[in-house]
Amino acid sequence: MVQETPLCITVAEQDFDAALLTRELLGGQGDAGALTTFIGLVRSGDVAFAAGDSAGTAPLRAMQLEHYPGMTEKSLRKIAVQAIERWGLLGVSIYHRVGRLVVGDQIVFVGVAGRHRREAFDACAFIMDYLKTEAPFWKKELSAPVGLGEQGHWVDAKESDQQARERWNEKAP
Protein backbone atom coordinates (compact mmCIF):
# COMPACT_ATOMS: atom_id res chain seq x y z
CA MET A 1 0.00 0.00 0.00
CA VAL A 2 2.77 2.39 0.98
CA GLN A 3 4.74 1.90 -2.21
CA GLU A 4 1.69 2.97 -4.23
CA THR A 5 1.51 6.32 -2.46
CA PRO A 6 3.25 9.03 -4.50
CA LEU A 7 6.35 10.04 -2.59
CA CYS A 8 8.86 12.58 -3.84
CA ILE A 9 12.06 13.40 -1.95
CA THR A 10 14.58 15.95 -3.24
CA VAL A 11 17.69 17.49 -1.70
CA ALA A 12 19.31 20.06 -4.00
CA GLU A 13 21.00 23.43 -4.23
CA GLN A 14 18.54 24.75 -6.82
CA ASP A 15 15.46 26.69 -5.76
CA PHE A 16 12.04 25.02 -6.06
CA ASP A 17 8.73 26.06 -7.60
CA ALA A 18 6.11 25.33 -4.94
CA ALA A 19 3.24 25.49 -7.45
CA LEU A 20 4.93 22.89 -9.65
CA LEU A 21 5.70 20.60 -6.70
CA THR A 22 2.07 20.89 -5.59
CA ARG A 23 0.73 19.97 -9.04
CA GLU A 24 3.08 16.98 -9.22
CA LEU A 25 1.94 15.88 -5.77
CA LEU A 26 -1.70 15.76 -6.82
CA GLY A 27 -0.84 14.00 -10.05
CA GLY A 28 -4.42 14.11 -11.31
CA GLN A 29 -5.80 11.77 -8.65
CA GLY A 30 -9.34 12.43 -7.53
CA ASP A 31 -9.28 10.88 -4.05
CA ALA A 32 -7.61 13.80 -2.28
CA GLY A 33 -9.90 16.19 -0.42
CA ALA A 34 -7.13 18.21 1.20
CA LEU A 35 -3.67 19.39 0.35
CA THR A 36 -1.43 21.24 2.78
CA THR A 37 1.95 22.77 2.06
CA PHE A 38 4.61 24.30 4.23
CA ILE A 39 7.51 26.45 3.02
CA GLY A 40 10.38 27.36 5.34
CA LEU A 41 12.30 30.58 4.58
CA VAL A 42 15.57 32.19 5.61
CA ARG A 43 14.53 34.82 8.16
CA SER A 44 16.44 38.07 8.69
CA GLY A 45 17.80 38.97 12.11
CA ASP A 46 20.92 39.31 14.19
CA VAL A 47 23.08 36.21 14.67
CA ALA A 48 25.97 35.43 16.97
CA PHE A 49 29.60 35.55 15.91
CA ALA A 50 32.93 34.99 17.65
CA ALA A 51 36.18 36.03 15.98
CA GLY A 52 39.31 36.05 18.09
CA ASP A 53 38.70 38.51 20.92
CA SER A 54 35.56 39.90 19.31
CA ALA A 55 32.16 38.34 19.92
CA GLY A 56 28.67 39.69 19.58
CA THR A 57 25.84 39.76 17.10
CA ALA A 58 25.55 41.05 13.55
CA PRO A 59 22.86 40.95 10.85
CA LEU A 60 22.51 37.62 9.06
CA ARG A 61 24.04 37.80 5.59
CA ALA A 62 23.54 34.19 4.43
CA MET A 63 23.01 30.65 5.60
CA GLN A 64 25.17 27.67 4.66
CA LEU A 65 23.32 24.34 4.73
CA GLU A 66 25.20 21.05 4.88
CA HIS A 67 23.80 17.51 4.60
CA TYR A 68 24.87 13.87 4.56
CA PRO A 69 24.31 12.74 0.95
CA GLY A 70 22.46 9.44 0.90
CA MET A 71 21.52 9.34 4.56
CA THR A 72 19.61 12.61 4.40
CA GLU A 73 17.40 11.35 1.57
CA LYS A 74 16.84 8.03 3.38
CA SER A 75 15.94 9.85 6.57
CA LEU A 76 13.40 12.09 4.78
CA ARG A 77 11.88 9.04 3.06
CA LYS A 78 11.53 7.25 6.40
CA ILE A 79 9.77 10.26 7.95
CA ALA A 80 7.41 10.51 4.95
CA VAL A 81 6.58 6.79 5.11
CA GLN A 82 5.81 7.09 8.83
CA ALA A 83 3.36 9.92 8.05
CA ILE A 84 1.79 8.00 5.15
CA GLU A 85 1.21 4.96 7.39
CA ARG A 86 -0.08 6.98 10.34
CA TRP A 87 -2.62 9.07 8.40
CA GLY A 88 -3.23 6.99 5.29
CA LEU A 89 -2.01 9.84 3.09
CA LEU A 90 -2.39 9.99 -0.68
CA GLY A 91 0.90 11.73 -1.43
CA VAL A 92 3.92 13.40 0.17
CA SER A 93 6.54 15.67 -1.37
CA ILE A 94 9.60 16.98 0.49
CA TYR A 95 12.17 19.31 -1.10
CA HIS A 96 15.05 20.59 1.02
CA ARG A 97 17.73 22.95 -0.24
CA VAL A 98 21.41 22.88 0.69
CA GLY A 99 24.32 25.22 0.00
CA ARG A 100 24.36 28.98 0.43
CA LEU A 101 21.01 30.72 0.93
CA VAL A 102 20.26 34.38 1.60
CA VAL A 103 17.51 36.17 3.54
CA GLY A 104 14.12 35.51 1.98
CA ASP A 105 15.25 32.35 0.18
CA GLN A 106 13.11 29.24 0.34
CA ILE A 107 14.72 26.44 2.38
CA VAL A 108 12.22 23.62 2.56
CA PHE A 109 8.91 22.53 0.99
CA VAL A 110 6.60 19.93 2.47
CA GLY A 111 3.41 19.01 0.64
CA VAL A 112 0.85 16.49 1.88
CA ALA A 113 -2.25 15.18 0.10
CA GLY A 114 -4.92 13.44 2.16
CA ARG A 115 -8.58 12.67 2.15
CA HIS A 116 -9.50 15.28 4.80
CA ARG A 117 -8.03 18.52 6.10
CA ARG A 118 -7.24 17.36 9.64
CA GLU A 119 -4.91 14.57 8.55
CA ALA A 120 -3.28 16.81 5.94
CA PHE A 121 -2.60 19.58 8.49
CA ASP A 122 -1.34 17.15 11.13
CA ALA A 123 0.85 15.13 8.77
CA CYS A 124 2.50 18.28 7.40
CA ALA A 125 3.35 19.46 10.94
CA PHE A 126 4.52 15.94 11.89
CA ILE A 127 6.89 15.80 8.92
CA MET A 128 8.41 19.19 9.75
CA ASP A 129 8.78 18.34 13.45
CA TYR A 130 10.57 15.09 12.59
CA LEU A 131 12.64 16.66 9.80
CA LYS A 132 13.99 19.30 12.18
CA THR A 133 15.11 16.73 14.75
CA GLU A 134 16.08 13.66 12.70
CA ALA A 135 17.13 14.53 9.17
CA PRO A 136 20.89 15.16 8.89
CA PHE A 137 21.06 18.83 7.92
CA TRP A 138 23.19 21.46 9.63
CA LYS A 139 22.85 25.25 9.33
CA LYS A 140 25.63 27.75 9.65
CA GLU A 141 24.72 31.42 10.00
CA LEU A 142 27.04 33.80 8.16
CA SER A 143 27.38 37.43 9.10
CA ALA A 144 29.81 40.23 8.27
CA PRO A 145 30.59 42.20 11.44
CA VAL A 146 32.21 45.56 10.60
CA GLY A 147 35.93 45.11 9.94
CA LEU A 148 35.98 41.37 10.61
CA GLY A 149 35.08 39.85 7.23
CA GLU A 150 32.60 37.01 6.93
CA GLN A 151 32.05 35.03 10.12
CA GLY A 152 30.24 31.73 10.57
CA HIS A 153 28.26 30.40 13.51
CA TRP A 154 26.80 26.87 13.61
CA VAL A 155 23.18 26.91 14.75
CA ASP A 156 22.55 24.97 17.96
CA ALA A 157 19.77 22.39 18.08
CA LYS A 158 16.79 23.67 20.07
CA GLU A 159 15.16 21.83 22.95
CA SER A 160 11.78 23.21 21.81
CA ASP A 161 12.18 21.32 18.52
CA GLN A 162 12.75 18.07 20.45
CA GLN A 163 9.65 18.75 22.52
CA ALA A 164 7.61 19.47 19.39
CA ARG A 165 8.61 16.08 18.01
CA GLU A 166 7.96 14.21 21.25
CA ARG A 167 4.41 15.53 21.40
CA TRP A 168 3.56 13.23 18.48
CA ASN A 169 4.24 10.18 20.66
CA GLU A 170 1.49 11.26 23.04
CA LYS A 171 -1.17 12.03 20.43
CA ALA A 172 -3.41 9.44 18.88
CA PRO A 173 -3.63 9.88 15.09
Binding site: G40, L65, E66, H67, Y68, G70, M71, K74, S75, H96, I107, V108, M128, L131, K132, T133, E134, A135, P136, F137, W138, K139, K140, W154, V155, D156, A157
Partner: protein, 85 residues
Protein backbone atom coordinates in the same frame (compact mmCIF):
# COMPACT_ATOMS: atom_id res chain seq x y z
CA UNK B 1 43.82 -4.59 10.90
CA UNK B 2 40.13 -3.84 11.27
CA UNK B 3 39.34 -0.27 10.29
CA UNK B 4 36.34 2.00 10.03
CA UNK B 5 35.74 5.00 7.82
CA UNK B 6 35.00 8.03 9.97
CA UNK B 7 32.94 10.81 8.43
CA UNK B 8 32.46 14.16 10.13
CA UNK B 9 29.91 16.88 9.53
CA UNK B 10 29.31 20.52 10.39
CA UNK B 11 31.13 21.93 13.43
CA UNK B 12 32.81 18.59 14.18
CA UNK B 13 34.19 18.43 10.61
CA UNK B 14 35.53 21.99 10.91
CA UNK B 15 37.13 21.39 14.31
CA UNK B 16 38.83 18.17 13.18
CA UNK B 17 39.86 19.72 9.88
CA UNK B 18 38.93 16.82 7.64
CA UNK B 19 35.67 15.31 6.43
CA UNK B 20 36.76 11.67 6.27
CA UNK B 21 39.50 9.37 7.54
CA UNK B 22 40.29 5.71 8.07
CA UNK B 23 40.66 4.70 11.70
CA UNK B 24 41.73 1.41 13.30
CA UNK B 25 39.12 -0.24 15.52
CA UNK B 26 40.45 -0.19 19.10
CA UNK B 27 39.21 -3.78 19.58
CA UNK B 28 36.80 -6.24 17.98
CA UNK B 29 33.20 -5.26 18.74
CA UNK B 30 34.19 -1.83 20.07
CA UNK B 31 31.27 0.50 20.71
CA UNK B 32 30.89 3.99 19.23
CA UNK B 33 31.55 5.33 22.73
CA UNK B 34 34.83 3.37 22.99
CA UNK B 35 35.87 4.70 19.61
CA UNK B 36 35.07 8.27 20.65
CA UNK B 37 37.16 7.81 23.80
CA UNK B 38 40.02 6.41 21.75
CA UNK B 39 39.86 9.46 19.46
CA UNK B 40 39.73 11.90 22.38
CA UNK B 41 42.73 10.18 23.96
CA UNK B 42 44.73 11.44 20.97
CA UNK B 43 44.19 15.01 22.22
CA UNK B 44 43.46 17.89 19.88
CA UNK B 45 41.68 18.42 17.60
CA UNK B 46 39.56 15.41 18.61
CA UNK B 47 39.26 16.42 22.25
CA UNK B 48 37.78 19.81 21.39
CA UNK B 49 35.48 18.32 18.78
CA UNK B 50 33.93 15.69 21.06
CA UNK B 51 34.34 16.78 24.69
CA UNK B 52 31.07 18.72 24.69
CA UNK B 53 29.31 15.36 24.45
CA UNK B 54 26.86 16.75 21.88
CA UNK B 55 27.63 14.13 19.26
CA UNK B 56 25.32 11.85 17.30
CA UNK B 57 26.38 8.75 15.40
CA UNK B 58 25.24 6.87 12.30
CA UNK B 59 26.63 3.54 11.13
CA UNK B 60 26.28 2.88 7.41
CA UNK B 61 23.81 5.79 7.24
CA UNK B 62 21.49 4.56 10.04
CA UNK B 63 21.27 6.45 13.34
CA UNK B 64 22.67 4.43 16.24
CA UNK B 65 23.22 4.96 19.96
CA UNK B 66 26.73 5.44 21.34
CA UNK B 67 26.52 1.94 22.87
CA UNK B 68 26.21 0.29 19.43
CA UNK B 69 29.04 -1.92 18.20
CA UNK B 70 31.17 -0.93 15.22
CA UNK B 71 32.43 -3.57 12.78
CA UNK B 72 35.32 -3.77 10.33
CA UNK B 73 34.58 -1.76 7.19
CA UNK B 74 31.71 0.23 8.69
CA UNK B 75 31.10 3.84 7.74
CA UNK B 76 30.74 5.67 11.06
CA UNK B 77 29.47 9.25 10.80
CA UNK B 78 29.88 11.56 13.79
CA UNK B 79 28.00 14.84 13.85
CA UNK B 80 26.31 17.44 16.07
CA UNK B 81 22.54 17.45 16.70
CA UNK B 82 20.77 18.30 13.44
CA UNK B 83 19.40 21.77 12.59
CA UNK B 84 17.61 21.54 9.25
CA UNK B 85 14.24 22.87 8.15
Amino acid sequence: MATVTLIYFAKIRELIGTSEEEYPLPEAGATVQALLESLMARGEPYLGAFESGRVLAAINQEMVSLSSGVADGDELALFPPVTGG
